[in-house]
Amino acid sequence: MKNKCFFIVITLLYAECLFAGIKTDTKSIVSQRAYYRVIDSELQGKPKSYTLTVWMTGNMLALEKAGNSSIALWHNWQTSKPTLFQVFKEHDYRIEFERIHTQKHQRLLAQLQALLQDGSFVQRATINNKQLILQRLIKDDMVELQINRWSDYKTYDYADIGDNEADPVLAKLIHQGFIQKI
């Protein structure tokens, strides 16, 4: 279930093209993190909720689901060619997906765009029948520090995963499936 929920988020944010449409000036972005309560009415027939944290700086955007060990992080997210990283907090590892663009992802990311208006986060939004309600918005140096910490993790290109099974952590991710389920 964790995987399912997380991948919805990952999928929402995967593609780059959405961000090409964002008019926000990089310099005007204030580093901030938004805590959203997500109400998912489709989970096992009755509404359930969980928390999503969106981390944002001028060139980085990250999405974290409470309780999940994996984070989706975009570099150059305001450009037409952002790069996605999947960050594994427990292992201090990242996998880089430099160019995965699909129409599906673009559509889903377009929905996510609604979360951002004038460089800040909206109070409420609905994405794929899930209600997102802003619980807390924090603007502090912690955002920048945390994202920089994730950016320093050991990084592998997705295309090179198969060549690095000798790395025990990577081998574990390969066998367990580093790609989360939608």
Partner: protein, 538 residues
């Protein structure tokens, strides 16, 4: 004497097996007379005639085994190009030409010499590219993940590599005064190309951001910086591939909107320009096309932030990038100006990536483009003085299965023959009542159907789908189709079986038979006499 014996044997075999004229010395008179064909197969059958011609051609082929007979050497490496990949690509190429496919010959399959290469690393039964390419260009097998060091070096342990440094054929060629080139459709800092010019106990140290504290403390440098600071001879003359991100700082965004990786602030592209003031740096198709091979001797081409595009996707590249055959032609035009000869390594790096993603269409298109690049070389050089070797670093768990009828689309569903041996109209069903494709994978991400609008490596955006799927209404020949896999893994794996070696030119015969992969270096060294010429030039 030998010729006479062979001739007699040939006549005997022909008489006994093909004309149906069995000797009757031991014949039991009660046994029925074997049926005898009235056809003279020796003159009317295309297979027989082609086979005969093949023997005649082989007899005419000169064996040039003299040391130093090869002025030039070209080493083509199809990364992950297993024997099954070659077979499937042959059929794929033939079918693209309107033939049934099986009878088609890729350019390198016409070479007079073929052998096998045992690919294992010193510490792994199934190898990786770092250890295998080190073996091919240095003559010494080593560990997986290790580039340019002997097997006593530990992976990712800089100090352990001290004293284990190996000499490569590119270094020797440069010392001998030859021109040199390294081409790849992967990042130029990736394991295979990196093994030609660098020493790194860890293949992933492509730029300084991945160096460990231990590596820095013990003097190891990243692969990109080793390329630009290559100090043998007058430096590598032609370098083209992907991997631009490893050559400039993380604070800089390149022409295609991608950030660099370097944390040391160095811009190695600027450093290369300063070092080779008459050289040309290019990053796109336009720049590549503008290179005048007649007047330029140094070229540095970095056409993508990471790996270059698959051949199928090349037209979609942001700035545009040349094909492998175009890069090969341009390189040969530049390198062949040197009277002392040249050494060129050409890697088709993304055959491997297509396999890892479980996407046979892209694999086969890249293999066909690799084949074109080899044909370009064959057409451009004097084969009496140029040794061309085509091989792979390792295989993949890619299989051809079932009993498809002759000419069945290689990417298609299996249609077998009926009891009379004629093609069935409908595809065959397995025990689970579902059809299956001829090609597939033993492990990996498995099935996906993205149609003809797919993008390269799209498969990594979706989870495993190992096992069987209903394929009756799926466009299995589209480039977005990903073949079924048995064992679910997030990346399909290399395989451990031997790969082919194909050779032509002086010294080619040294590669007949089954070889340790490191023997390839020794064949090259003998044919081009690299060590002696390098020593003589010092």
């Amino acid at each position: 004497m030998m010729k006479s014996t062979i001739k007699l044997l040939s006549i005997a075999v022909t008489t006994a097996l093909l004309s149906g004229c069995f000797g009757d010395d031991d014949k039991n008179e009660s046994e029925p007379t074997p049926a005898v064909s009235t056809i003279d197969w020796t003159k009317t059958n295309e297979w027989f005639e082609a086979g005969e011609q093949n023997v005649l051609t082989a007899k005419e082929t000169q064996e040039l085994l003299e040391k130093g007979a090869a002025k030039n050497v070209i080493l083509f490496v199809g990364d992950g190009m297993s024997v099954s990949t070659v077979t499937a690509a042959r059929i794929f190429a033939g079918q693209q030409n309107g033939q049934t496919g099986e009878e088609y010959q890729l350019s390198f399959e016409k070479f007079p010499v073929a052998g096998f290469s045992k690919t294992y690393n010193t510490n792994q039964q199934t190898p990786d590219s770092a250890g295998t390419m080190t073996a091919m260009v240095s003559g010494v097998k080593t560990k997986a993940g290790v580039i340019g060091y002997g097997e006593k070096a530990l992976r990712a342990d800089c100090a352990s590599g001290s004293g284990q440094e190996l000499v490569t054929s590119i270094e020797l060629a440069e010392m001998a005064g030859k021109s040199t080139g390294v081409l790849s459709t992967a990042r130029i800092t990736h394991a295979t190309p990196a093994a030609t010019y660098s020493k790194s106990p860890e293949r992933n140290w492509e730029s300084d951001n991945n160096l460990t504290d231990e590596a820095k403390a013990n003097g190891c440098t990243d692969i990109a910086s080793q390329l630009v600071n290559f100090s043998y001879g007058d430096g590598i003359d032609v370098v083209m591939g992907g991997g631009r991100r490893h050559f400039f700082p993380s604070s800089v965004i390149d022409e295609e909107g991608k950030s660099g990786k370097r944390k040391d602030g160095q811009n190695l592209i600027d450093e290369w320009r300063a070092k080779y003031t008459n050289g040309i740096y290019v990053y796109d198709q336009t720049g590549f096309d503008a290179i005048d091979a007649a007047s330029v001797n140094k070229v540095f081409g970095l056409f993508n932030s990471s790996h270059m595009e698959y051949e199928v996707d090349r037209a979609n590249d942001i700035a545009g990038e040349p094909s492998l055959s175009e890069m090969t032609q341009k390189s040969l035009d530049i390198l062949s100006k040197n009277d002392k000869g040249f050494f060129l390594m050409v890697e088709s790096g993304r055959i491997d990536h297509g396999h890892h993603a479980g996407n046979a269409y892209r694999v086969l298109q890249d293999t066909v483009e690799f084949d074109r690049a080899i044909q370009v070389a064959v057409n451009s050089v004097d084969l009496s003085e140029t040794l061309i070797i085509v091989t792979a670093d390792h295989g993949h768990v890619f299989t051809m299965a079932g009993y498809p009828t002759r000419g069945n689309p290689i990417l298609g569903l299996v249609k077998t023959n009926d009891s009379a041996g004629h093609a069935e109209d409908e595809h065959v069903l397995a025990k689970d009542d579902m059809p299956y494709t001829t090609v597939g994978y033993r492990n990996g991400l498995g099935f996906a159907d993205y149609g003809d609008t797919s993008t390269g490596d799209q498969r990594y955006s979706d989870p495993h789908a190992a096992g069987r799927y209903e394929l009756s209404d799926v466009a299995v020949e589209s480039h977005g189709f990903h073949q079924e896999a048995l064992v679910p893994l997030s990346s399909e794996t290399h395989s451990g079986e031997d790969v082919g070696i194909y050779a032509i030119g002086p010294g080619a015969q040294l590669l007949r038979g089954t070889h340790e992969q490191s023997n390839i270096f020794h064949a090259i060294n003998h044919a081009a006499d690299l060590v002696a010429k390098a020593e003589a030039s010092q």
